[in-house]
């Protein structure tokens, strides 16, 4: 059998298939065998609950659709209590996708997750608004990006 395993800075995946954030959740568990994935990446969640954008969040176009969900999240404690046990039933490592409006909140959230077993890595969703920089996304500014990564570490 061919070995498709990859090593990402010490994180070993059985294969390089790492779906985008939130695309493999409980709704797909009855459709495919989740153990065939290289890793899970959760839907992005935040430290505190947030409702996301007002409705409607989706717009149908002639040949496509647009959506703007606005990071709907029940918060980290809800994630730990209700979502994490679902993923722990499967073998692929779990990557937690997190977001925050400030650098400090990224750090606080990462610190909370570091206390929780079963999370192999953190994905920083830095396309969200940075309220310390007039709402511009962290990812737009290299310095802001570096600040978040440093705080996470």
């Amino acid at each position: 059998m061919t070995d498709f395993s990859v090593n990402i800075n010490g994180l070993r995946l059985a294969n390089p298939v790492m779906p985008a954030s939130g695309t493999f959740a409980e709704g797909l568990a009855d459709v495919i065998d989740f153990n065939r994935l290289g890793a899970f990446v959760t839907k992005t969640f935040t430290l505190h609950p947030r409702s996301g954008n007002p409705l409607p969040r989706v717009c149908e176009l002639d040949s496509a659709m647009l959506n703007a969900i606005g990071i709907s999240s029940k918060g980290v404690e809800d994630f730990i209590e209700y979502t994490l046990p679902f993923y722990q039933r499967y073998a692929p490592p779990l990557i937690a996708s997190i977001s925050a409006p400030t650098t400090q909140e990224f750090a606080t959230l990462a610190a909370r997750l570091s206390e929780v077993p079963g999370i192999a890595a953190i994905e920083a969703n830095i396309s969200c608004p940075n309220i310390e920089e007039d709402g511009r996304a962290f990812a737009i500014e290299p310095v802001a990006t570096a600040r978040v990564i440093k705080a996470l570490r």
Binding site: T23, A25, L28, S51, G52, R57, V58, N67, I69, S72
Partner: protein, 45 residues
């Protein structure tokens, strides 16, 4: 509904918890599509 699998959160609607009376977004495609009448909230109610 966009994904129909409960993952994209496009189809959420605010539903009222019977006990606490608080509103929680529920996914029509995954948590529903049928909901108890007392949970369903509309603008102005």
């Amino acid at each position: 509904m966009a994904c129909g699998l409960g993952m994209c959160y496009c189809c959420v609607r605010p539903m009222r918890d019977k006990e606490s009376q608080t509103l929680t977004d529920k996914r029509v495609c995954y948590d529903g599509p049928v909901f108890p009448l007392h949970e369903v909230c509309y603008d102005g109610f």
